[in-house]
Amino acid sequence: MTETITPSAPVAAIRIENLGKSYGDFEALRNVNLIVAEGERIVICGPSGSGKSTLIRSINRLEEHQTGRILVDGTELTNDLKGIEKIRSEVGMVFQHFNLFPHLTILENCTLAPIWVRKLPRAEAEEIAMRFLHKVRIPEQANKYPGQLSGGQQQRVAIARALCMKPRIMLFDEPTSALDPEMIKEVLDTMIELADEGMTMLCVTHEMGFAQAVADRVVFMDRGQIVEQNEPMAFFSSPQNERTKLFLSQILGH
């Protein structure tokens, strides 16, 4: 089943073709195909070990794929280091465990990459950083260190840090899984705001409320494969595959 790519079609933000990756005998990804259009918001869900994190981490090559192709903004991910760094600077990533730099202040966390990768003057980088810290509603924490902030605040800083690079695509790898329940909402609200502005987003999450609110498409993965994908309404009301039904009953059942 090959899709024909007409030259006049706009370049997809992300195009994943026949992606495969295995660790020894374990197949983490098997023949994954996914096309993400500019401005599209996709939620990826699935049981643990289904390959959803591996997939999202492959998109900025934190994981190296073994077969198939990934094109980000029309550029293929290869071993070319400069190309990878270029793509990474266009693709923002938010991690489950925030991964803020503990030895730098919140402001320094946000200005580091703009200064060293984008080569912006410090003053300009700081201005941009403050703008995004306002956006995630923690400008008053700018001079603190990550260790002094709550989990929810740290994750919002992580989002601001990614946004400071003015990325065209944002990847979220279970951004609320490590948070206490009362902090999940503040992070999701920030993400919803971002979605409303038209950011291209791929989000691995189990927050089905978030999926229903913002996703254009929900992708369900199991055992390294995309099992089913649909728009949220149809995905939740009438799942087709047995595994999807089982997963949804487990996650929504209580």
């Binding site: 760094e85 991964n99 730099f101 990614a162």
Partner: protein
């Protein structure tokens, strides 16, 4: 009191005595404790008095002449005073000792100026290079100063130069070796492991002998560096190998999420190491680094086996003066005090660094 709680005294009612007695209770609460306390007090006073008697009361100070020492049973500080120039500067030409003194002041001032994290700016690197150049000019001469060959260098400046240069040059090497040992490139990794394990497997003494005896046999005269430089090289790679393993320990401790986050922002390998990984890794291993560096400060004294005159050798040389009664205890106490001052202030500095790091993280 009828209970057996023997370490509580019947306390008088007057309130101001209470705290004092409570504090004394652990020392004199039982007969055994009381006896031990008395015995130790007696020992401390006895030894303390002997020391005081020797070092201060009966000590010979001024005038700094052999006769002053002959007239007393106490410490012969007169010798240390009279010979301080020779102990501190060794066989450096006496007329030029001001240069060696200036070198010590220069090195120590640069060290102190570098201590504050707020002064860690690019200019500090230039200041260090300038200081090293100035030190070499002052010690070695040329450009208007009379030449002093390295074979005439001695004493404290030699110790300071060897320490500062060996660690100053060894530290960047250590960082490269530590990164190399974790590199994904097999050639780089194998080379780093080879260098680290070879150097660590050899005693420093044998490295110094290789540098001073074997190297001249292998290299043609024209390519052979000065004996001082060869010893310095041996000390530098020795320091680098040890520091590399300490730094690697710190690198291992940084969670992989840190480099992933840096990569995801588009930072390249060197920027990631320089800005994200190393600052955290080095802070973690400050106690172990301090240890290694203090050992290196003292290791420099081993250069005396290859005929360089560091602080200890110049002290020994001073003791050979037949006019004096050779008070070696006093001389080595004096030298020990200098080493202690160096090592202890470095340890305090490391402690301060560690604390300032902890405050930051809240």
């Amino acid at each position: 009191m009828t209970d057996t709680a023997s370490n509580t005294l019947a306390l008088p009612t007057r309130p101001f005595l209470r705290p004092l007695l409570q504090r004394l209770a652990p020392f004199v609460g039982t007969p055994l404790n009381a006896a031990l306390t008395l015995l130790l007090l007696w020992l401390i006073l006895r030894v303390g008095w002997l020391l005081l008697d020797w070092a201060v009361v009966n000590a010979a100070l001024l005038p700094a002449k052999p006769e002053t020492c002959a007239a007393t049973t106490g410490a012969c500080w007169s010798f240390v005073i009279a010979k301080s120039g020779q102990i501190l500067f060794g066989i450096y030409p006496p007329a030029e000792r001001w240069r060696a003194g200036l070198v010590c002041v220069l090195i120590l001032t640069t060290l102190v100026a570098s201590a504050r994290p707020s002064s860690w700016r690019p200019w500090l690197g230039f200041a260090w290079v300038a200081m090293m150049a100035l030190v070499l000019w002052l010690m070695g001469g040329g450009f208007g100063l009379s030449r002093v060959p390295t074979s005439s260098w001695g004493g404290l400046p030699v110790t300071l130069i060897l320490t500062v240069f060996a660690i100053g040059l060894g530290f960047p090497m250590a960082i490269l070796l530590a990164l190399g040992r974790r590199s994904g490139l097999p050639v780089v990794r194998t080379l780093s492991v080879l260098v680290i394990e070879t150097i660590r497997g050899l005693p420093l003494l044998s490295l110094l002998f290789v540098a001073s005896i074997l190297l001249p046999l292998l290299l043609p005269e024209a390519l052979l560096p000065d004996k001082f430089v060869r010893a310095l090289l041996a000390l530098t790679i020795f320091a680098a190998a040890y520091l590399a393993e300490v730094i690697r320990g710190g690198l291992q401790a940084i969670p992989s999420g840190q480099s992933e986050a840096a990569k995801a922002l588009g930072l390249g390998y060197w920027n990631t190491q320089r800005l994200i990984i190393l600052p955290q890794a080095i802070r973690i291993v400050i106690p172990a680094l301090t240890n290694t560096i203090i050992v290196m400060i003292k290791n420099t004294s081993l250069v005396l086996v290859v005929g360089l005159f560091d602080l200890i050798s110049s002290g020994k040389a001073a003791l050979s003066d037949p006019d004096w009664p050779a008070p070696s205890t006093e001389t080595f106490l004096f030298i020990g005090l200098i080493y202690f001052a160096l090592a202890f202030s470095f340890a305090r500095f490391a402690d301060f660094l560690e604390r300032s790091g902890m405050e930051k993280r809240g």
